[in-house]
């Protein structure tokens, strides 16, 4: 009967932790319980099959060690040719003992709900198991508090791993200003804003810091090139966060409408059926979208470029709607 994979992995962890210098693949195969040593007197065909099966199994086990967070050191011993050996340094791997209070353990458990259904879901669960190992209290979601995100990116996991190894990532990306392109980026950190995830890093092609919205990444993010290929500046330059200056727009809202704009703006009188507000903004899109989504119960008076955008957006939406209904927009 095949050995339970968890038992084999545990045996591998113990063997590589106990190894004085290192263990080669051949030593692992012949001495760690769970791997099948070469059958004596095997034919060439059998040898190929067996060797390939061992390699597959060992590669998968190495991946799983990494998923568990165990750093596997490769050790080359010049007296034994070029063959690579492996070793786990127990001191590098150990989970520090952290004293979390029951209230802290409860809020940590929010991670389970937050990443539910996402690539990092199992990692959140595993992280909580680790935290629980050294804590007196168990992670239980707090009553009365929750956290969710509705569209998490699968890229987050790959970027987290690449960043930890200081390895660049490559991905296809669409931006509204520059269109579609393949980017090569040295990840500095991930940023979560409004449930959307961003990558902040150094773009090798542009030779400048950039921020990427992960939802605009198409296909997979791939880690490329060697590890330890860059350093993260300390402190990370606060690029992009020299935000545009605050400007003021004047908008009109119908009485009993535009409560959100009212909250953010200052009332400056009335004009006909419109209550006038001065609203501060940094990004013109914000005013444009806020007014459009009030469906005619708000209008932009100034600046005119935002008013023009509102008209342009409404016109093209109207055309698309009428075309879908088989009507002409001239009527």
């Amino acid at each position: 009967m095949a050995v339970d994979p968890a038992e084999r992995l545990l045996n591998l962890i113990i063997a590589l932790t106990h190894a004085r210098v290192r263990m080669t693949r051949a030593q692992i195969r012949s001495s760690v319980a769970g791997y099948a040593p070469p059958t004596p007197g095997r034919s060439e065909d059998e040898a190929r099959r067996e060797d390939a099966a061992f390699e597959r199994m060992f590669e998968r086990d190495k991946d799983e060690l990494r998923r568990i967070g165990i750093p596997l050191k490769t050790v080359v011993d010049p007296t034994h040719g070029d063959e690579i050996g492996y070793k786990i340094e127990a001191s590098d791997a150990a989970m520090p003992s952290i004293e979390f209070s029951p209230a802290e353990m409860a809020v940590l458990a929010l991670a389970r709900e937050y990443w539910q259904g996402a690539t990092l879901g199992p990692d959140a669960q595993q992280g909580l198991t680790k935290v629980a190992s050294t804590a007196a209290a168990a992670p239980r979601s707090p009553l009365g508090l929750g956290a969710r995100a509705t569209s998490l990116s699968d890229a987050t996991a790959v970027i987290a791993e690449a960043r930890a190894r200081r390895q660049a990532v490559e991905f296809d990306y669409t931006s509204e200003s520059t269109g579609h392109a393949t980017r090569t980026v040295e990840p500095w950190h991930l940023l979560i804003r409004g449930g959307a995830e961003y990558l902040v890093g150094f773009d090798r092609d542009k030779q400048a810091p950039r921020t990427y919205r992960l939802r605009r990444v198409h296909g997979d993010v791939r880690a490329i090139g060697p590890a330890d290929s860059y350093e993260i500046p300390d402190p990370v330059p606060s690029q992009g966060s020299s935000p545009p200056p605050v400007k003021t727009a004047r908008v009109g809202v119908r009485p009993e409408a535009g409560h959100v704009l009212r909250e953010q703006g200052t009332a400056v009188g009335t004009e006909g059926d419109w209550d006038l507000l001065d609203v501060s903004y940094r990004y013109a899109d914000y005013i444009r979208d806020a007014v459009l989504s009030l469906g005619g119960r708000a209008r932009v008076l100034a600046p005119t470029d935002i008013a023009d955008r509102v008209v342009e957006y409404a016109q093209s939406a109207r055309e698309a709607a009428l075309a879908s209904l088989g009507e002409s927009s001239d009527g």
Partner: protein, 305 residues
């Protein structure tokens, strides 16, 4: 689904470390602590018991007190030097990322920031993920809601709904929740006689009432608006970011054009959002939704004229 090997091995190491900190534990205690069944704990201990260092003689194996085990008490006698391993980069991002979003929301209890500090210090490289605040809701309103949840009583609200109407309602608050960085109160709305997830920043006033909360929290999760029909929107790719935000949406993307299908609970709300991607929209179905978009676009043009 069968448990993945890394998750199981992480728990196996966790059991060893927990027992080293606590001398012994009952099967029931371990099951409660690691949130698995008692039979799973017995299987885990059995697996640990058979594992060890090459040689696999008695002294090479992880060992437990056999007499105690028969009495459902787990006492570790030899760990073979294994113990729980530090957080992986992915685990650190998962835990720290979730906590920073709650911390940035403005409704976090103190335990969030103290837990974050400890976690970041322990990881050593806790700078992998940060969260940016979208602005905090009125702390007084948050305080009223939190107190009412703790006391199990209703709250009277003045609330601006998604259609921009100012409404008066009495809610039975169950939970504060951060969704995509925005703060909500999950509640039973007595006026609607249904579960609601209300944005805290749209609450104008909140007054704690005397009536006790009579409903249980909604366990279905997610928003409880009932879709009235399915919409299909085709649009140029730059519009995808908005379409992706509609609840329950499925998006096909051929590289140029995206096709989004989603349930519409309130055509007025969806039409208003579609205006904000106007230049990218190709087609809108069904006619009911296209009519609403055309009418609202018309109203915007009139207002702007």
């Amino acid at each position: 689904m069968a448990e993945k090997t890394p998750a199981r091995v992480t728990r196996l190491l966790g059991i060893v470390t927990y027992l080293e900190h606590h001398d012994e534990a009952t099967v029931a205690q371990l099951a409660a602590h690691f949130d698995v069944s008692e039979s799973q704990i017995r299987k885990d201990v059995t697996t640990l018991w058979m594992s060890g260092a090459p040689g696999y003689l008695h002294d090479d194996l992880i060992d437990f007190d056999a007499d105690a085990f028969d009495r459902d008490i787990i006492r570790l006698t030899d760990s073979q030097g294994v113990s729980q391993v530090r957080l992986s980069p992915r685990e650190a991002v998962a835990l720290i990322g979730a906590l920073t979003t709650v911390a940035a929301s403005g409704i976090a209890p103190d335990a969030v920031s103290t837990a974050l500090d400890k976690l970041v210090a322990a990881v050593g490289d806790g700078e992998a993920v940060r969260s940016v605040s979208l602005g905090a809701p009125d702390p007084e309103i948050v305080g009223t809601l939190r107190a009412a949840i703790a006391a199990g009583v209703v709250v009277d609200l003045a609330y601006v709904d998604a259609n921009d109407n100012l409404t008066e309602r009495t809610i039975e608050p169950h939970r504060l929740v951060v969704i995509d960085g925005i703060t909500y109160v999950e509640c039973w709305c007595r006026r609607a006689q249904d579960y609601r997830t209300l944005r805290i920043d749209r609450i104008r006033t909140a007054t704690q009432g005397a009536d006790a909360v009579a409903t249980k929290p909604d366990t279905s999760g997610g928003f409880s608006l009932v879709p009235q029909f399915e919409a299909v929107i085709t649009a140029a790719r730059p519009a995808r970011w908005l379409l992706d935000t509609f609840p329950g949406v499925s998006v096909d993307d051929d590289g140029t054009t995206v096709t989004a299908r989603f349930g519409v609970a309130d055509a007025r709300v969806i039409a208003a959002q579609l205006l904000t991607i106007g230049p990218h929209v190709h087609t809108i179905a069904p006619p009911q939704l296209a009519h609403e978009v055309a009418a609202q676009a018309h109203a915007v043009l009139d207002a702007q004229a």
